[in-house]
Amino acid sequence: MKLDIRWPIGILFLLFGALIAGYGLLAQPAGVGGDSLNIDLMWGVVLAVFGAVMASLAAVSGRRP
């Protein structure tokens, strides 16, 4: 049985996204030049959404016979 590559991609990006967004939320790391942009939080969410899409694609195609 082969592994659907979308599973590891999905899970890794969900995990990375959650960690980076969580860190951005808690630690509020300073951006460049006093920019108020919390890029960790924003990009963490983007990563997590991508991860979720990948994982759900894998889940959907796994259920098909």
Partner: protein
């Protein structure tokens, strides 16, 4: 130096865990040598395509293209829109049917089926040595960079990464390498995209960047658009910082070098040969063409942003080399440190390390296949069993990783040896496409022609290099070691013309020798030569989804991009 926090370390460790986990999971699907070397020919088109693109996306590519973006500006896009897309489309439409259809396990094996044993041996041996060397250089570059950037120990970082690569290939073979390449592809995309977004935001968008680059160009004595236009200043070598003109660029880079690399380099082609069907194998280069077309925005633009910031005397500065010139190879790492807070920094760093590692893995998987199928089996153990081949594949993986490390130490202690070796391999590679072009499309070409053509092409490349020199260079490794007949405005121009000479030499000698020697047996050429192979009828689906249609669409997109940034 960049300071990492706990979060960055955590991301890196999780990534390592995933890579090893994928190898462990795939272990049970490896039963035969075919599973190990060619993923059992069961990889879907989109995975093969992304791996195809990613196998070329080593860290040196990322770092080197950003460096070129800073040095030459938008003209660096020629390496993508001229020097890659057309060749990838040609491979998909015309060449893949022979590679995949002939059931050869490697590119050298195709050469044996089409020509003869000596042509295969020439290609297999040079390719095997070259993969080890490139993987060694990749490891060396990584050790150096991590040391410079983070203060990590050169030996420790290199051995850890090499160890992880070794374990995951031993476990999952080519499938492991391919899966990790796909993972790395997404890491690079998502790890570098914020760099472009933050950088462009910082310089005031595309227009702000153009303004900044105008100053860069004017201050160095070029026309204002020399850094932001790709074709406009290619009329003469003195108008653009690359020092090339359009003919040398189109013929040398766009034709000889690009087709030679994308259509014949087994490291790349192996990814498509692992696809689950002929249709998928032909799709793979086309799938790869889409991200390849967009990558200039991800890897070249950061270099352009960096040079514009450095030039405006802003907050960014590039470390200098020993001779006082800016070290452009550090553009990406410096930008990561400049723009990314901890967290994102861990992501960017993981992406960078992932691409170093997959660069090594790609070379090692190509090496173990060529060593086992094209050197060990034919010359050392002709009646090896399949289990024996699988065992040898694993042993070759371990030896390949160790040899790569040895090559890395060689590069660290004798920089010149590696430069000389790289030069020799450039000579060997330059004529290859002529051999494949004649082999696939002219049934009269035979083994003697192919072999002597390759030798002649390599000789032409060496002689041309020995007789010419780039401006401001000393004779020796840069050229002029025979005599000085001609001076090129830049090393790049010299490279392009070396390739043109090598191709022409190989092409004419192959044709001449073939015509003077035996006529190949037509029956043996079926499936190997265009005129002797039935056309593939693509049934099912509308004409819109045919390989040729998709190829034309991709080509049109590349033309539009060239026009947009003319």
């Amino acid at each position: 130096m960049i300071k990492l926090e706990m979060i960055d370390w955590l991301l890196l460790v999780i990534y390592f865990g995933f890579v090893l986990g994928i190898g462990w999971w795939l272990k049970r699907s490896i039963r035969t040598s075919n599973d190990f070397f060619l993923s059992g020919r069961a990889i879907p088109a989109w995975v093969a395509g992304l791996a195809f693109m990613s196998a070329n996306l080593g860290a040196q590519e990322v770092i080197g293209m950003a460096a070129s973006g800073a040095k030459y500006g938008m003209a660096t896009s020629h390496f993508y829109w001229v020097g890659a897309i057309p060749a990838m489309i040609f491979l998909a439409i015309f060449m893949m049917p022979f590679y995949y259809g002939s059931k050869a396990r490697s590119v050298p094996e195709y050469l044996r089926l089409r020509f003869d044993e000596k042509t295969r041996a020439f290609n297999a041996f040079s390719f095997a040595v070259m993969t080890i060397m490139s993987s060694g250089i990749s490891m060396y570059a990584m050790g150096l960079l991590l040391n410079l950037l983070l203060g990590w120990d050169f030996n420790v970082s290199m051995w850890i990464c090499a160890g992880i690569v070794l374990v995951y290939i031993l476990l999952g073979g080519l499938t492991s390498a391919i899966y990790n390449e796909v993972l790395q592809f997404f890491l690079i995309v998502f790890g570098f995209a914020p760099l472009v977004i933050l950088g462009l935001h910082d310089v005031g968008g595309w227009n702000g960047l153009r303004h900044g680059l105008e100053r860069v160009a004017l201050d160095q004595g070029y026309a204002a658009g020399a850094w932001s236009d790709s074709w406009r200043y290619l009329g003469s070598t003195s108008q653009n910082p690359m020092g090339v003109e359009w003919f040398g660029l189109v013929m040398g880079l766009g034709f000889v070098l690009s087709f030679g690399y994308w259509c014949t380099d087994f490291l790349i082609v192996q990814r498509a040969m692992a696809a689950d069907s002929m249709r998928s194998a032909r799709r793979a280069p086309l799938v790869a063409a889409v991200p390849k077309m967009l990558f200039p925005f991800l890897v070249i633009v950061p270099g352009m942003i960096a040079i514009s910031l450095v030039h405006s005397g802003g907050s960014l500065s590039l470390p200098t080399k020993l001779d006082g010139s800016p070290n452009y190879d550090l553009v990406i790492p410096v930008m990561l440190g400049h723009y990314f807070p901890n967290g994102l920094l861990g992501l960017g760093l993981t992406a960078l390390i992932a691409s170093f590692m997959s660069g090594m893995a790609g070379n090692v998987t190509a090496f173990n296949t060529v060593w086992t199928n094209d050197i060990y089996q034919p010359y050392l153990r002709p009646n090896a069993t399949d289990a024996g081949l699988l065992w040898m594949g694993r042993a070759a993986t371990a030896v390949g990783v160790l040899l790569s490390l040895a090559a890395a130490y060689l590069a660290a202690s004798f920089n010149n040896i590696m430069d000389v070796l790289q030069l020799v391999f450039a000579f060997i590679n330059a004529p290859l496409f002529a051999t494949f072009l004649l082999g696939m499309f002219w049934r009269r070409a035979n083994g003697h022609g192919a072999f002597y053509g390759l030798v002649a092409g390599t000789a032409c490349a060496a002689i041309h290099h020995g007789l010419t020199i780039p401006a401001h260079a000393l004779s020796g490794i840069k050229g002029g070691w025979l005599a000085m007949l001609h001076q090129y405005p830049s090393e790049m121009a010299q490279n392009f013309w070396t390739a043109i000479f090598a191709f022409s030499g190989c092409f004419s000698v192959t044709a001449l020798v073939s015509l003077m020697t035996h006529v190949p047996d037509r029956g043996a050429l079926r499936g190997l030569v265009y005129s002797e192979t039935p056309r593939i009828a693509e049934t099912g689906g509308s004409w819109l989804t045919r390989t040729a249609t998709l190829g034309c669409i991709a080509l049109a997109a590349a033309v539009i991009l060239n026009w947009m940034f003319w």
